[in-house]
Amino acid sequence: MRTTTTRIAGASLAAAAAMALSVGPAFAADTWVSANLKPVAGNGVDGSGTAMVDVQGNKITVTMAANGLLPDNPHAAHIHFGAEARHECPVLSDDKNGDGHLNTTEGGPAYGDIVVSLTKTGDTSPKSGLAIDRFSTAPGGKIAYQRGSIKVSSAVAKAISAGESVVVIHGVDYNKDGKYSGDTKSDLMPSLPTEATDPALCGALRVAPAGGMHTGGGLAADNLKTGGQNEALMLVGGGALLAAAGSGAFAARRARSRA
């Protein structure tokens, strides 16, 4: 029994070491991150999208698609980041003025400032954040955007690579009149209605999972050894093994079932 225990502990350590090794490369200089774009809480957009950003040194390539947007109206789109931000999409509790909608400023604590403007042409710096004439107008409610060789600072490249930036597509239609309208002025540019700049879709650009997948039966034993993070597995598959392990027959059970 002591032998078994030792083996299990040893295996556990080995597994932990392997994980530590496999996590490393995700933070290498050249990498990529991706996001699922989902409707911003409170802003009533029935749409979705995807985004993928390749990072090569200080240059990025952005591939972004979305649908369900207000058609034929300009949709400002940006990558946001803030060192103090939560690196995620805003939630209803970010609605500081309590109007039930989230404007761009209210999203700040979640996603930070604009660091890249996803314009179709010309400048891509934060200065072009509201260059309405250079963003996609979403014909048919769809955006299919790709742009390479976008220069960013080292700090921004690092933040994007670390999975800390957020893609936001702006432009909503609360009153469903088919255009940007309404009495509420934009928090970013008072000459525009807030509909033109409120965030529509949002997605945090995340690093892909590290390493392979433990999709073999072997995982159940691993989870037992390491304390297990997958509760469902513990409950359904692990219960029997746990009982066996408790009485010292753990190894025996495995021996018989494999034979």
């Binding site: 985004a51 039966g217 495995r254």
Partner: protein
């Protein structure tokens, strides 16, 4: 097979003592039995029974451990502008000619492939290996950076930070090849899938999607092709099916992941 699913074996050694109320002989016998079984068990673990005892493992793609591309040229892309396959990179206009069947609808501007709004899968079917499942669970990145796996061998997991099937980019679905005791899981025969096979996915929004397999390959988990699986091509609707394969090690962990790569070829 049947003894694998009966009540926990671990109860057994203690039962005689409880029933008889006699402590001495019963307990000693139980201890002895346990000790013997433990020795057998340790030996079994060392031998890595699943890999070496001759029990038939799950079917494997042509060459396990080596990325074995099959017929179709429409494989996953490594990075933009790299490699020689016709579909490499996001340069959109080249893809039409290489995949005549790839006409699920009209392409919109920028030459992106057709794509749908997000919607969770409600069923997956792989007719060529007789697989059908409507049990889905979300898979997410855990604190250690690895992805979680389904709780049972009959569920199919969808990577929840990636696209749903039909959106642009690879929708990554994973399921167990078997249980710890070797009972086949839902993806047990995934290694038998071949290029050209069809994967059907239905979604909550009522749409029915048809993906065509581009290639099937096995990779050592230590050399898992993260880019090809999760990154693929975000200008096309793609699918990945992942399970375990290859020999097992002393911890009963499979060495490989078997990966099926496919792309959207029809929507109804």
């Amino acid at each position: 097979m049947s003894e694998r699913t009966e009540s926990p074996d671990g109860d057994r050694p203690t039962r005689p003592a409880r029933r008889s109320g006699v402590s001495g002989a019963g307990v000693r016998a139980a201890v002895a039995v346990t000790a013997i079984l433990v020795v057998v068990g340790v030996i079994a673990l060392v031998l890595g029974l699943r890999g070496t005892s001759g029990t038939p493992g799950p079917p494997q793609p042509a060459a396990a451990g080596v990325p074995s591309t099959s017929t179709s040229p429409a494989g996953p892309t490594a990075s933009p502008g790299q490699g020689g396959t016709p579909t490499t990179g996001p340069s959109p206009s080249t893809s039409a000619g290489t995949r005549p069947s790839d006409e699920p609808g009209t392409s919109d501007d920028n030459g992106f492939g057709d794509f749908l709004e997000a919607s969770e899968p409600t069923s997956i079917e792989i007719p060529s290996i007789g697989v059908r499942s409507s049990h889905f669970v979300p898979l997410s990145i855990q604190r250690d950076g690895t992805i979680s796996v389904p709780g049972t061998a009959q569920e199919v997991g969808l990577y929840d930070a990636g696209p749903t099937p039909g959106q642009l980019g690879p929708a990554v679905l994973a399921a167990h090849v078997d249980t710890p005791s070797g009972v086949p899981g839902i993806f047990y025969e995934l290694g038998k899938v071949r290029a050209g096979d069809v994967v059907k996915v239905s979604r909550r929004d009522g749409s029915h999607l048809r993906f065509t397999v581009d290639k099937v390959a096995a990779y050592k988990k230590t050399q898992f092709p993260t880019e090809a699986v999760y990154r693929g091509d975000f200008t096309k609707a793609e699918i990945r099916l992942v399970t375990c394969g290859g020999p097992t090690d002393s911890r009963n962990e499979y060495r490989d992941n078997v990966v099926v790569f496919g792309h959207l070829t029809g929507t109804s």
